[in-house]
Every structure is written in C-alpha cells, then in structure tokens.
Symmetry: C2
Subunit: 327 residues, 2 copies
C-alpha cells in the first residue's frame, strides 16, 4: 500500500492512504492518527489500512480527495532515528580518488553509516532553507527503508522482514562545512541539515517485481533546474543491501519502530547514468578536467527526485525543493 | 518542578510529577499523557503541571504513590534528537595527550558535538546490555538539557530561554569499537549504544542557586561498584556553556521541542576530583604509569550516577545500572 502524512496543525501530520496512480488520497486517522502510531502498532493497524487502500483503488472511498504532494509532510514528519549508510561504495571510492586518497580495503566489507538528525524533516516540496549560499548546498538522492522494532545483534539474513516501508530521500548536505567537521572526528552535524523524503512511503509488496527484499531495482531520477542530472539504477552497484545496513545499525542496540535507514547516494560505475549529487559530478570533472565545473546549489535552484516504474508510473511521488535564503 | 515518566505499556511512559524530596510521585497524564506531549505544548501545560507540583509538595495530592526510580523510564523514553557535546575540553585534551597527539587549537573555540541515537533510551535502573565484554564497556556521566523549539541560526545569547528541563546522563560507550569507527570518518554509531538518563528531569528554576542559565554548579557523583569514582564539579572547566552548545546544534537547522543536548563527560583539571568515565582514568594512568590499570566494565559491574545539593538532597534521582550479557 501507499501511505502519506498530510500536513496539519499537529507536529506529526495526519496519516493518509494514497491510491496506486497517485491521484487520490484519503485520511486514515480513524485507523491510526499518525505514521508513527501505525508503525508502533503495525500488526494491529496494517490490515485495516490495507482495506482502506483497496477501497481507494476501487474508487470506493467517499472521503477521498485529490492527492497533492505540496500538502504532504514527509511520511514521518519527525522520527526517532535516521541512520544513513553509504552503500554505493564506488561513490565513496570516487570521492577519495578525486582528492588523491586511497580508500581502505575494509570499506568494501564494513558499511559506512552516520547518525542523522531526525527531529524535523522537511516536507517533500518544502524549500531548503540555508543562511548562506557559501555552505556549498547539495542534494543527495537516495532510497530509505523504515523498520519495525529490530532486536540488537540481528543477522542480516533475518533483517529483511523488519522492513515495513520504502521511501526516497533528499539528504541535503552542506559540502563546504564537511571537511572541517569530519576533521574534528565526531562525524557530520552542521553539514547535514534537515533531510526530506518522498511524499509517499510504499510497503515492499507494492514494489513488486522491482524489490527483491534487499535492493530496489529501478533508476532514481534527479533533475536539477529542469535538466536531467542522473538516473543511476538503485539496484546496481549497491555493495551493502538494506538488510546488511539494518544489521550494521543494530549490532550494539535495538532499533525502535520507525527507524529510517538510508542507502547513501545512489551511484553506478556506469558514469553515463549521471550522478545523484553535485559533489560526485564535481569529482568526475576534477578527474577529467582537473577542476570542478558544476557549481553547488544557489538560492532559487530547484531539485526534483523521483522514481518511475517500467510503465512510467511515478511510484513515490516527487520530491521537489527550491533553495531559499533564511530570513 | 520535577518531572518523570513512569514505565507503562506504551512506548513513551506516563508523565508524572515528583515531589521535591523524591518520596512521592503522581501521574500527570490528565494534563499531558507523555513528556513529549508536555514539551510539544509547554506553554499550555506547564502552568497546570506547576499546580500539581505544588499540590504534591504540600501532600495535597490524593493519587500520589511512593516514588521508585526502578519503575521509571528515562524522562523521554525515546526522543527525536540527542546531540551530545564535548564541552569539557580539558578532557578532550587529556585523551589526545595520552595517545601522544596534539589537540587542534580551534577545539577551544568550536564545540565538538555528535548526533546520538535517540530511538530507545534505557531506563535509569535498566541493565546495560551488551553482546560482548570485549567491546570495552564504559559509562560517561554528563549533564543534559531538553529544549523547546529552537530556530535555525540562533545566537548563544538567546538560547538559554529555550532550556525547558535539565537531567543527568549515562552516555554508555564501547571504547574498543571507537578507534575503527572514528577512523572511517563518519563518527560514532556502534560504539554508542543506548544511553540512559536520570529518573527525574528538573525545570531550571528548581536548580536555584546552582543553575546560572548556562552551567550547573554542583559536583556530579559517579560510583563504580560501590566505590567513589569521581565528583568533578559540572560548573568548573565547562569550556562551552549549554546556550553555546544549543547555538552550535542549531547553526544550520531548527531544533524540535524535546531535543536533548548533552555536555559531554564532566571533567575538572583538578584531578583529585576523579573522573566521570573509565577512559579518562585510564588516560591518567597511562600518563602516570605508562599503562592503563583500571579495566573497563565487566558483566555484573554497577555504575551509580547522581547529584546532591549542598544539603545532601538528591536532585535528579539516581542512575544505577548493571552490565549484563545479551541472551
């Protein structure tokens, strides 16, 4: 099924189901007031959400209203955990290569993951607000999954069944703040402002035949200022699967229902597929031309991130955000 | 006032007020069902919580029951944000010195802070569960504040008024997992399992005259296996104040109500005050004896963390946790 959170007075939105073709939505608040509530009580509420989802697909839902991504918050407007992996290791290798550094061999076996801020996500069509253009504002197009409760020390082979929902992410990054911050040794903080997620979160069954329980096998489309920027296939070159990322996150602690685990920037070794962030394109330019030619985002620039199935159907709705100056 | 969260069937506990002498508690669920709800709606609910707090202190609360820290969850059993600073820079310098490294000069001006996991905190008397003793299990005794909504790019001079509550923290750390994890460059993840907080959170006014709006001027007592381990004064040698830590966290993004900001391990340059974590004691031993002599925690070891006022009154209740093997 397809779920979304309608912006409302509350901080957590109102849970909605959205029909398969993304034309209609219907509040599901009588079943579960919020997405977090649904995730906290999934076994109880999912069957009733499924019924409502069938109704809206059969045009049998009287309270349905036109779906409008702009009225949606991120599926979880705030979450208890956002942990972002870096599963496309060829991307990491490229970043290192551009600055003349070797990538340690164990990066192919031991996932990179950082703890992200999750207290106030941007809506899928909300502006990206920054106080200063010189921060080096970049998008990062990714896939993320939302888990139920995951026990500590779970093995990857048992982790796939804990995936409840799949989304797209724009993991906004402030590139020029990263070097100083990482040099301090404690990871990202100021360099990772609020992320945004696709307007719709899908249960894995809804992604048949593109979801194999570990990876999502479709191109992720990034469009910057109406120009195609990248379309790498999320199922290709993903060194660590989602179950492996979940197991990594849960090695020393349980994960609470509603935990969001990200894939990191989607990147294919086939460079004709383009990139899912400006930083990667700049690295490729540095390797090819000796200098980066593509600027980071400026106030007024717009990024669109979406995924279509083989029939051209938009699956998650579109993330579409414009950079704005903090006033 | 003094607030706590009683463990219950739900994931977020039931909000209680606790009397000043920590002998009685009373559910406040009719005013606000959970601590997060109270923080989300502070201006509306705080006056009513204050009334209930006055009643319980006047023994005028019929539903009061004996306060028992063991029945409490952390004040926020799960939170939308836990950001931990490292405000006692002499501690950071010491850690570097023990491994023969210079500390960059800017560490005195630019706070260290990491994004911690906040999805499932331990209760103040819950066991610290680990799958392997060889992880190098350590406690870290700290102070933390909980904020209301903080706007992006706030100045430190305006941040103090956003502090709603003050707590103690045990920021459990797995020391032997840290070097590999930090070497990867993305900060802590597996090396920082679930933290726990004091059973009670206090409004700043309750800490008069020890709270000056920026720092808390009292010794923090750590007791390991019934032996006094440290009693450094939290108001001494705190290079960055809480308002400065909040401003650092909010530089590129707003902070949602219920954000927890930690001080980092309390540490005084006066070494007779002992330490607030085993790692620091080991560093001092290495400098003095050329080898660390105090082992990290083993299964069965117990850590107690608490703060008394000048009259010996326990202010926050006691964190008391025993390390247990994951079964």
């Amino acid at each position: 099924m397809k779920l979304a959170s309608l912006k409302s007075r509350g901080r957590d939105g109102e849970l909605c189901v959205v029909n398969r073709s993304l034309t209609k939505a219907c509040k599901a608040t009588e079943i579960a007031p919020t997405m977090q509530f649904a995730l906290d009580n999934w076994d109880d509420v999912a069957p009733n959400l499924e019924k409502l989802y069938q109704q809206i697909n059969q045009e049998a839902c009287k309270q349905a209203f036109p779906f409008d991504a702009k009225k949606m918050a991120s599926p979880l407007p705030r979450a208890y955990q956002w942990a972002d992996g870096s599963a496309y290791v060829n991307h990491v290798e490229l970043v290192r290569k551009a600055r003349g550094a070797e990538m340690p061999e164990n990066f192919w076996h031991d996932p990179l993951m950082y703890q992200g801020g999750s207290d106030s996500f941007l809506g899928p069509c909300d502006p990206i607000i920054a106080s200063d253009e010189s921060f080096g504002i970049d998008f990062e197009a990714e896939i993320a999954v939302i888990t139920d409760d995951v026990p500590m020390n779970i093995e990857a082979k048992n982790a796939s069944s804990h995936i409840r929902l799949v989304m797209l992410v724009n993991d906004v990054s402030l590139r020029h703040l990263i070097p100083n911050e990482l040099a301090k040794g404690f990871g990202f903080f100021q360099s990772k402002p609020a992320s945004s997620f696709s307007p719709i979160a899908l249960t894995p069954d809804e992604l048949t035949p593109y979801w194999d329980g570990e990876r999502l096998h479709l191109p992720l489309l990034s469009t910057l200022n109406n120009q195609r920027f990248g379309e790498p296939n999320a199922g290709v070159d993903m060194t660590f699967s989602f179950p492996e990322l979940i197991a990594h996150a849960a090695r020393t602690r349980q994960l609470c229902a509603g935990t969001i685990i990200g894939s990191g920037t989607i990147s294919n070794t086939d460079r004709t597929k383009g990139s899912s962030c400006i930083a990667e394109k700049r690295m490729l330019e540095m390797i090819e031309y000796g200098e980066a030619r593509t600027p980071f985002m400026r106030f007024g620039d717009t990024i669109r991130i979406e995924m279509l199935d083989d029939n051209g159907q938009n699956l998650f709705g579109t993330i579409e955000q414009t950079v704005q100056k903090l006033v």
